[in-house]
């Protein structure tokens, strides 16, 4: 690829970004737009409040200014409802990772068992099929009632949503280890534990890692909704709080950062996936 060919997609990306900001700027141009609320409500709050000085939706300039402010000081803590966006993200990431690794600690050994034993597979399959399609948030009331702690409940919701892809992929990866490798292990009289760790695990690792990558993606999707429900801390709570403040700029900042963090998590797992993938 020549330098020009490499620059072409970059240039196009920049043009698309420019277009987005351009349309955004056009759409949010103009000052007072007259009355913006319902007639009855206008009577109630008075003309000034009803017409508003400006739409609540920020211009790109407002947004960038807010974003710059957040990025310049992400870790301040001025009480319950005023924490830096970095702190909120850190809470969310910590919840996602603890729920995710708890799920991995259960799903991978269990998936090994299901993958190796037809009986275990047949016995657990109905449970998996029923539990898998349940929205993780449906567990929330149950979690809140039994665990009695909103933070722990959020972790539980992450746990329950990230367990299925890992469980199913591990079982599938283990069950489809090529027979010839198992035959090699058998003729070499490899003991069960060594066979599991040195033959089955590396053989199934790419499939397991795919499951982990799917799980972390889902966990990051779910944490925002879960934190909106449990409140207190986290990026989901931040978004909900800023909605109550009607600070669209802050919401947009959070949305952008949620995307960036999700991308980073996926990138890390794609790297791990590449590390365990073998060429045949």
């Amino acid at each position: 690829m020549t330098a020009l060919e490499r620059l072409r997609p970059l240039a196009l990306s920049l043009i698309i970004l420019g277009l987005i900001f351009g349309i955004w700027a056009l759409a949010t141009m103009g000052g007072s737009k007259g009355q913006v609320v319902d007639d009855e409500y206008a009577k109630l709050v008075g003309a000034a409040a009803a017409s508003g000085q400006k739409s609540a939706f920020p211009t790109p300039g407002d947004f960038l200014e807010k974003l710059g402010g957040h990025l310049a000081d992400p870790f301040y803590d001025r009480g319950t409802n005023d924490k830096g966006i970095g702190i909120q993200l850190a809470y969310s990431i910590a919840r996602v990772l603890s729920g995710f690794f708890l799920a991995a600690a259960v799903a991978i050994p269990l998936g090994f068992m299901i993958g190796m034993s037809r009986t275990a597979f047949a016995a657990l399959d109905p449970f998996i099929q029923v539990l898998k399609p349940i929205s993780p948030l449906a567990w929330m009331p149950l979690a809140l009632f039994t665990l009695k702690d909103s933070g722990v409940s959020a972790i539980f919701v992450i746990f329950i949503c990230s367990i299925w892809p890992m469980l199913i992929n591990t079982a599938f990866g283990v069950a489809s280890v090529r027979r010839e490798w198992m035959d090699v292990a058998r003729t070499l009289e490899v003991r069960p534990v060594r066979k599991a760790l040195r033959v089955i695990l590396p053989a199934a690792a790419p499939t397991i890692m795919t499951g982990m990558r799917i799980s972390i993606g889902i966990a990051w999707l779910v944490i925002v909704a879960a934190e909106m429900l449990v409140g207190g801390t986290g990026i989901g709570y931040f978004v909900w709080n800023e909605w109550n403040n009607l600070s669209i700029s802050n919401i947009l900042t959070a949305i952008l950062l949620i995307g960036v963090v999700g991308m980073v998590l996926d990138f890390v797992f794609s790297r791990l996936q590449r590390l365990v993938t073998y060429r045949d």
């Binding site: 010839e180 490798w181 035959d183 090699v184 058998r186 003729t187 070499l188 009289e189 490899v190 060594r194 040195r198 033959v199 590396p202 053989a203 690792a205 365990v276 073998y278 060429r279 045949d280």
Partner: protein, 284 residues
């Protein structure tokens, strides 16, 4: 008593949807002596690989027994090394690690240095110096199969089972590996049971060639004793007057008699008949 005894071996597969069971082979009897190199030849589907898998302990026969060294074979064992048709190397391990995995399975108490030097000896034996740290995907077909051979030899089994190991290789590579195999077997006096489709390969390598009739209900019909001198080589053996007598006998069997025995045109022997076509007087 001979080293390996196979008595009345039988394998059936359940018939499809209530039909009768399919008898792949039945009444397979033969013996192997220590240090013997035996090739088994027969058409696809006659059950050669199943026999080899039973000898390896990877498959259970439907009937009959296999004894090695006076003990019944009931499952896989480090006493029997297997070279698989598809080489069966672990793609996430390098050449050295693949062989070391086998060595460590056989001698779990060995130190790292002992394992490394033992592995190197067998890498040298199959002339893979310089490829030790490569992954199987980076190797040619011939090199992969060499690793498979080295892995099987490295555990120094009492018997080696080779399932058509060179079938997928080009003629030139196959010739080179055959030469190496001859060399290794002469050094180690290994007992070998090998499946092949290549008549010339069988004549070069084997002391005895088992001829198997077509399935179903296949049997080992004949045991051809190779009466050519032990020191025969791939490049000169076709000048030996015995060579074509043996070769013609094998080919005649494969193209005509394997089918004739299956269809009943020729009598199915209860025990394999031992023949020495190399010593037959030339039909003048």
């Amino acid at each position: 008593m001979s080293f390996l005894q196979v008595q009345g071996l039988k394998k059936t597969f359940p018939g499809v949807a209530g039909s009768e069971d399919l008898i792949v082979f039945d009444n397979i009897n033969f013996e192997l002596h220590r240090g013997e190199f035996v090739c088994i030849i027969g058409h696809s589907g006659c059950g050669k690989t199943t026999i080899l898998n039973v000898l390896a302990g990877l498959e259970q026969p439907s009937g009959g027994h296999v004894f090695m060294d006076g003990r019944e074979v009931s499952g896989p064992s480090l006493d029997r090394g297997v070279v698989f048709q598809s080489h069966a190397l672990m793609p996430w391990l390098s050449v050295r690690e693949n062989i070391a995995f086998a060595v460590k399975s056989k001698w779990p108490d060995w130190s790292k240095a002992e394992i490394v030097s033992h592995v190197q000896k067998f890498i040298d034996l199959v002339h893979l110096q310089g490829a030790e740290d490569k992954k199987p995907a980076q190797l040619s077909g011939g090199m992969k199969q060499r690793v498979g051979v080295a892995r099987a030899f490295a555990i120094q089994p009492k018997m080696l089972l080779l399932d058509e190991p060179f079938g997928a290789l080009d003629a030139l590579t196959r010739g080179n590996i055959q030469d190496e195999l001859v060399e290794i077997v002469q050094q180690t006096h290994q007992t070998v049971f090998m499946i092949t489709h290549d008549v010339d390969e069988a004549i070069l390598l084997a002391d005895k060639i088992f001829l198997m009739s077509n399935g179903p209900q296949a049997v080992i019909a004949e045991i051809v004793e190779n009466t050519m001198p032990k020191n025969r080589s791939r490049t000169t053996m076709h000048h030996d007057p015995q060579f074509y007598s043996i070769r013609n006998h094998l080919i005649d069997f494969l193209v005509k008699r394997a089918k004739a025995i299956a269809s009943g045109q020729e009598v199915k022997p209860q025990r394999p008949v031992v023949v020495r076509p190399g010593l037959l007087p030339k039909a003048a």
